[in-house]
Symmetry: C2
Subunit: 388 residues, 2 copies
C-alpha cells in the first residue's frame, strides 16, 4: 500500500440553512477543498461521500452520482460512491478514499460528507436518526438517541465517580472552543448554570448535553504522499485508518458504558501508526452527547475508566491542557450534520497540523487523532494524522 | 495491487417473502457464501453491503453494522460498510471489497447485497425507487422509473430500427433462462402474446417489459488470488473492476438512448483486463426494463447502436447463441431486490465459470462480464471474471 496524505480541505459553516439546499452545501465544501488542493476538477479520479439519511430527510438516494453531477464532474464519468454508517458515514467515506488511493485504484480522491436535516420537522428527524439504532428492538419500542445515551450516562454514573457538574464541563469546554471556530453552529461560550438549568431531555441529559440538528457539508482531498508536495506545501500524512463494529442494539453489549468498537478501532489505529497514546497532541472525538466524550477519551486509552470526568473538570482536555479534546467545538458546538461530521473532524485535524486553526490553535501540534461513532457505538472509525 | 479472486458465493431464492425479514435474508445468503468458501466467520476481515433504501423500506439505516451483528460477527469487531448507489449498490459494494483486498487492507472480505421491498405498499416502493433519479427535477414532477425508461425506449425506437416484437424477445429469452434458475422469482416461460397482451405500464413498456418488486439477498467472498486455492478448488479471478458516473437526471444527458456511464465503465473494464469484446463468453446486464438490455449490449460495445434488437430476435443473445446475455434470467425473471442485484450478477458469473449453472450452463465458459446500473445510468459498475 502507498502512503496517503490529505492535500486539501473545505467545510461550509454549520447551521440551520433554509436558503441553501443539500446540493448547494456539498458543492460549496467540495469546491473549497479542490481549490485548497490547487486542483482542477478533471484531475479527480474518485469520490466517496458520507451521508446517513438523505432518503428520509430530502427523499433522495443515489447521492454519489448526484454529487459528481452537481460538482460538474459527470462529463468525466468519475466513480462516485456513497457510504453510510449512520453518524460515522463521514469517517467511513474518508477511509474508503484512503484505501482507494493506497491501493493505486485512484490517484486523487475526494472524500465528502453532507447532511441537510432541517427541511423536515423535529419528529421526523428524530425518527430518521433512530434508524441508526436497532429499529426492531429499540426504535419500535420508543428508544431515541437521547434516551439511549441517557441509559449509558445512568449506567456510567452508577458505576464510576462522574458528577453532574463534571459532565457539564464537557459542554462548557466545547462551547469555549466553538466560540473560536468560524464554522461552528454555536459560537458562544456557556456557563455551568446554562447547562444545569437547561431543559431536561432524557435524565440525566439536558439540552446542553446534546448536539443539535444541523445542515452542513465538508470535503477533503487525498493523494499519494510521494506526489502530495506537487499540490501543497503542507500535506498531512494519514498515519492510520481503522474501523470496527459492535452490536447495533445497546442492550446486546458486553458493557454499555464501554464502546468496544472504539476500543478496537483505537487499538488498531495505534498499531497501524506505530504510536503510543502519549504521542497524540490533540483528538477530535464524537461528542453527540456529553457522556459520549467521556466514554471516548477512556475507550481510546487516554486514561483509565472512570477518570475522564475528573480530568475534564481539571482542564486536562482544554485547549491549553495536556490533551486538547474537540478543539473544533465538537459536535456539541459545531453542530452535527450527521454524514458530514466525520469529514469535519478530519478538516479540523488538518487545520491544527498545518497551524491554521487560528484562536483555537494547539501550539506545536505534530500528531492528531479523530474518532467518529455510528449509532450508540455499532460503528467506529479512528484515524491518526501527522505533519510531514 | 494484489490479484483478487471470488472464493465463495451464496444467494437466497428471490421472491415476495412475508415470512422472512431483511435480517433473515442477508444472514441466509452470507452463511451460504461463507460455507461455500469453507471459512469460519472469524476469518473474515471486512464486509461491504449494497443496499439502496432500507431507510424507506424498513425504516432502518446503519446496515453495515446490522449485518455484521446479525451474522454473529459483532464480537470480532470487524469493519462493515454499507455502500449505496441505487440499483448499482451491489456492484459498488463488490468493487469496494475487491479494492480492500487488492490494497492489502483486508485479506478475506465479504460483499453482500440485500433489499426487502415488499413490506410496504406499491405506492411507497415506487416512490422509494424514484429517489434513485433526480428528486428535484424528475421525482417532484411525477417521473417514476417505468416512465423514465419508457422515454428512453420511445427515443430509441424513433431513431433506431427496434420493433415492439424484438423488444418483447428480451423478456421471452430472460424468462426462458429464469425457468432454468432455481433462485429466480419467476421460473416460467412466456410467449410473445404474454408480453404484447400484458397491461400497459408506460408506453411502449408493458408489464412484461418491467422487472418486478422483490425480496432477496446475495453474498460473495473475495480473497487474494495467491491464497485462494487454500479455500476452494475453483477460485474465479476478478480480471477487472470498473465504475463510472453520469448526470443523475435523464434530461441532462448528451444522448438519452446511450448510457455514457456504461460506455465508460465498459471501456475501463476491458482496458484493465487487457481483453477484447470477442473474448467474453457471456454477460449479465442490468435489464430493469427490456429496453435497458438492448442499450447495455450496445453500450458495452458488443454490437453497433441499433443492432441489439435484431440480434436478440435472431437468438444471438440466447443461452446457445454467440453471446448469451442474462443466463440467470436477469432482473426480469430473477426479480430485482435492488441492493442485491449487483451481487447476484457476480453469483451467476461465478456459477457459470465453475460449470455449476445446471440447465442454463454456457458450454465451455471461460470469461464472463457483469454490468450493474443505478438509476437511469447515473452509476454503472462493470466487472470481468475469468477461470483460473
Amino acid at each position: 500500500m502507498r502512503d496517503v496524505a490529505v492535500i486539501g480541505v473545505g467545510c461550509t459553516n454549520f447551521g440551520e440553512w433554509w436558503d441553501r439546499s443539500f446540493r448547494n452545501l456539498f458543492v460549496e465544501a467540495g469546491v473549497m477543498a479542490i481549490e485548497d488542493a490547487n486542483l482542477a476538477g478533471e484531475q479527480i479520479d474518485a469520490m466517496y461521500v458520507g451521508n446517513m439519511s438523505a432518503g428520509r430527510f430530502i427523499e433522495q438516494e443515489h447521492i454519489g452520482a448526484l454529487i459528481a453531477d452537481y460538482s460538474g464532474l459527470a462529463t468525466e464519468n468519475i466513480p462516485s460512491t456513497r457510504v453510510e454508517a449512520a453518524c460515522a458515514s463521514g469517517g467511513l467515506a474518508f477511509r474508503e478514499a484512503v484505501i482507494a488511493v493506497a491501493s493505486g485504484m485512484a490517484n486523487i480522491a475526494v472524500a465528502a460528507g453532507v447532511e441537510k436535516m432541517t427541511d423536515v420537522d423535529t419528529s421526523l428527524s428524530t425518527d430518521a436518526l433512530a434508524a441508526a439504532a436497532d429499529r426492531e428492538w429499540e426504535g419500535f419500542v420508543g428508544a431515541t438517541f437521547p434516551g439511549l445515551y441517557a441509559m449509558i450516562a445512568t449506567d456510567y454514573m452508577h458505576r464510576y465517580p462522574l458528577t453532574r457538574e463534571q459532565l457539564a464541563q464537557v459542554a462548557i469546554k466545547n462551547h469555549y472552543n466553538g466560540a473560536r471556530n468560524p464554522i461552528a453552529q454555536f459560537q458562544k461560550e456557556i456557563t455551568l448554570d446554562t447547562v444545569l438549568n437547561s431543559t431536561m431531555v432524557a435524565d440525566p441529559l439536558r439540552l446542553f448535553d446534546c448536539s443539535p440538528i444541523t445542515d452542513g457539508a465538508a470535503a477533503v482531498v487525498v493523494a499519494p504522499l510521494e506526489t502530495a508536495k506537487k499540490y501543497t506545501d503542507t500535506p498531512i500524512k494519514v498515519l492510520a485508518t481503522a474501523q470496527a463494529s459492535d452490536t447495533i442494539a445497546l442492550h446486546d453489549r458486553r458493557d454499555i458504558s464501554t464502546l468496544d468498537a472504539t476500543v478496537a478501532a483505537g487499538n488498531r489505529a495505534f498499531k497501524m501508526a506505530g504510536l503510543e497514546r502519549k504521542d497524540i497532541d490533540f483528538v477530535e472525538v464524537h461528542d453527540c452527547f456529553t457522556i459520549a466524550e467521556i466514554c471516548a477519551i477512556e475507550d481510546l486509552g487516554f486514561c483509565k475508566k472512570g477518570e475522564a470526568g475528573r480530568l475534564t473538570a481539571e482542564g486536562y482536555t482544554a485547549l491549553d491542557g495536556n490533551l486538547p479534546v474537540n478543539t473544533s467545538g465538537g459536535l456539541k458546538a459545531c453542530g452535527h450534520p450527521v454524514g458530514a461530521t466525520g469529514i469535519k473532524q478530519v478538516y479540523e485535524a488538518v487545520l491544527q497540523l498545518r497551524g491554521d486553526a487560528g484562536k483555537r490553535q494547539v501550539a506545536g501540534a505534530e500528531i492528531g487523532m479523530t474518532q467518529n461513532v455510528g449509532g450508540t457505538g455499532a460503528t467506529v472509525a479512528a484515524h491518526i494524522f501527522g505533519r510531514t
